[in-house]
């Protein structure tokens, strides 16, 4: 069957039940995108596992099982066996349980760090983009300085400033890395919005400045920032893992964390590479999931992609 341009357009108008907003249309497109579905499944699985980790994991994170090492020569690490699908780690703890439980920590650190960075970044970006002038110049020069420092180096420096390594330090350090990215991005699209006709239209209608900024500029400017947030979530997880890997994270052995597990596994790489493989794979898969989701989100909200 064939249709003309005009019919296609008409069909689109009819098929949308009246009053479908841009956001709901974006979701409609998202649902038909294989990459988005894959990303959503990975992320969904990750969140579910993280939330239910204590129920799924057969053992505690700090629980040791000396009996596993009984018949082995010294230095060897037990492999998979009944009740321990992935064997144990170098301290005789159930490796499978630790990988599962670590999901929770990773999610917590990743999400919190990104959220904090996002909120602070949005405030700075909005202020800079809405006021312009010297406020904008000052704020943007500061973010430029932060952006000029390699992100991991920045996070390490911030984390190193803290008196003792802790999870809070990691979250704050990773959050600070995100702030300039979000602020810059939002400020850019706010500036573009400021020049746009519909903002001029709202001004000429006599709408108050604050309402113009919050009702018209921010909602239209924030899309790319939200997309960036999902992508940043992936890098936040990686950064947090890296900080733990470098020993700047939480030293509490009772808490499992993928980055830390990876760090500790390197000593035993020749004995049991699986100890490094599983946490690394978990980090990569989760990061991939967020990236897939973020990229498809970016495409879905891009007005040029709308047909």
């Amino acid at each position: 069957m064939t249709v003309t341009w005009a019919q296609r357009r008409k069909a689109r108008l009819d098929d949308l039940s009246a009053g479908r907003s841009l956001t709901s249309e974006a979701f409609r497109r998202l649902r038909r995108e294989p990459a988005a579905i894959a990303g959503a499944v990975i992320v969904g699985l990750f969140v579910v596992v993280a939330a239910l980790a204590p129920l799924i994991a057969p053992h505690g994170a700090a629980e040791t099982f000396p009996q596993l090492q009984e018949n082995l020569r010294p230095g060897a690490i037990p492999g998979p066996q009944d009740g321990f699908p992935l064997g144990s780690d170098q301290l005789g703890r159930d490796f499978f349980s630790r990988v599962i439980l670590a999901a929770q920590q990773t999610l917590l650190v990743g999400v919190l760090a990104t959220l904090i960075g996002l909120v602070v970044g949005i405030v700075i970006g909005t202020v800079a983009g809405a006021f312009g002038g010297w406020v904008d110049t000052l704020l943007m020069r500061i973010t430029d300085v932060l952006l000029a420092i390699p992100s991991l180096l920045l996070a390490i420096s911030v984390a190193a400033l803290a008196a003792s390594p802790s999870q809070t330090t990691v979250i704050i350090a990773v959050a600070i890395v995100g702030v300039p990215i979000f602020a810059r991005l939002l400020r850019g699209s706010m500036l573009a919005q400021r020049e746009s006709d519909h903002v001029v239209a709202a001004t000429s209608l006599g709408v108050k400045r604050s309402a113009v900024v919050l009702r018209h500029m921010l909602p239209n400017a924030i899309g790319p920032v939200i997309v960036q947030a999902t992508l940043t979530l992936a890098t936040s997880i990686l950064d947090a893992a890296a900080l733990s890997f470098l020993g700047l994270g939480d030293a509490d052995p009772a808490r499992a964390e993928w980055g830390l597990m990876l760090a500790q596994a390197q000593t035993y790489l020749d004995v049991r590479p699986a100890l490094a493989f599983y946490p690394a794979a978990a980090i990569i898969v989760v990061a991939l999931g967020f990236t897939l989701l973020g990229e498809s989100l970016r495409e879905a909200i891009d007005p040029k992609g709308r047909r």
């Binding site: 064939t2 249709v3 005009a6």
Partner: protein, 326 residues
């Protein structure tokens, strides 16, 4: 006289996975005689630009289905291989686009963009090509052409850019020039210059010109034969004097009456065409224009009107405007 270009039953459909095909051009046929100026007129979405891109074979290979034939010198351009077509483009037929800034390479001086064509199609090189390029620029009315050879596109005004683009299109003396809305992005006084230039060049070089535009005024002064497109089909074709004096298709008729004319007394209510293209019916079993047509009868929504030719005019309408209506 045999035609230079014969377009027969050209159909262009855009295909997309899991969706029905979108037909942009639906069985368009027309001839262009050597040295003739032919107009394709219509609103956005009528298929006029897609037609020109199909003739030039510039549509993307993926997601597009082109059928019908486009004959030039006895060969069907649609069946040529990619390299054969490339050899013809520029030499036998070339094109001028609407937006001269995006059609020119922004990082290469104008002169180099002209000599590039000369080098490729006419084997010119060095000073000879540069000399020829300067002459071309002068021919299209660019002042101080030698100096302008070294200018970049952004250093030229819109009108000068369009002239440069025309110079490039004419560099190899093609026998057919396709101009797709060449003056739409320009101001009226510049538009007048460019239109004057185009008709002068066509007269001098004997090249044929297909003029694609939405502006009936542009067509009125320039084109010998005018094709009016609606919804991907030609609904009316006539020699320009006759088309404008006695438009027979209600769409042409309505369009002419709905535009404010400079020479009409001001203030009168315009006779607007109702609705917009979203109201169109499918050609498959109706006239696409019927829902907007003031002369629509019952047949119009049930039977596809066929194109009938008589006295050098083509008309696709069940209930045309009477010839003596004016």
């Amino acid at each position: 006289m045999t035609a230079l270009l014969e377009v027969r039953d050209l159909q262009v459909a855009f295909t997309r996975r899991r969706e029905p095909d979108t037909v942009a051009v639906d069985g368009v046929s027309f001839d262009v005689a050597p040295g003739q100026v032919v107009g394709l007129v219509g609103e956005s979405g009528c298929g006029k630009s897609v037609t020109s891109l199909a003739i030039m074979r510039l549509l993307p290979a993926r997601g597009v289905r082109v059928s019908g034939s486009v004959r030039m010198d006895g060969t069907d351009l649609l069946t040529l291989s990619g390299s054969e077509m490339r050899a013809r483009r520029g030499r036998d037929l070339s094109m001028v686009f609407q937006d001269p800034l995006s059609s020119l390479n922004p990082v290469i001086p104008i002169g180099l963009q002209v000599t590039e064509v000369l080098r490729r199609h006419r084997g010119m090189a060095g000073d000879k090509a540069r000399q020829a390029a300067a002459e071309l620029l002068e021919r299209v009315g660019i002042p101080d052409p030698r100096r302008r050879l070294d200018s970049y596109p952004h250093q030229l005004s819109g009108g000068m850019r369009q002239r440069a683009l025309i110079a490039i299109a004419l560099a190899c003396q093609p026998r057919l020039l396709i101009a797709d809305e060449p003056t739409t992005a320009l101001d009226v006084t510049i538009q007048a210059q460019i239109l004057g230039l185009l008709s002068e060049l066509v007269r001098e070089t004997g090249a044929a010109l297909i003029m694609i535009t939405h502006d009936l005024g542009v067509v009125a002064g320039l084109c010998e034969a005018v094709n009016v497109l609606y919804g991907g089909r030609i609904v009316e074709r006539a020699q320009r004097h006759r088309l404008f004096a006695t438009p027979r298709h209600p769409y042409t008729h309505g369009l002419l009456r709905s535009i404010p004319r400079l020479d009409a007394p001001p203030g009168e209510e315009l006779e607007a065409i109702r609705g917009s293209v979203v109201d169109n019916l499918p050609w498959a079993h109706a006239c696409a224009f019927a829902p907007r047509c003031p002369r629509a009868i019952e047949t119009c929504t049930e039977v596809t009107p066929v194109a009938e030719t008589s006295g050098g005019r083509l008309l696709r309408c069940h209930n045309p405007v009477p010839a003596n209506a004016e």
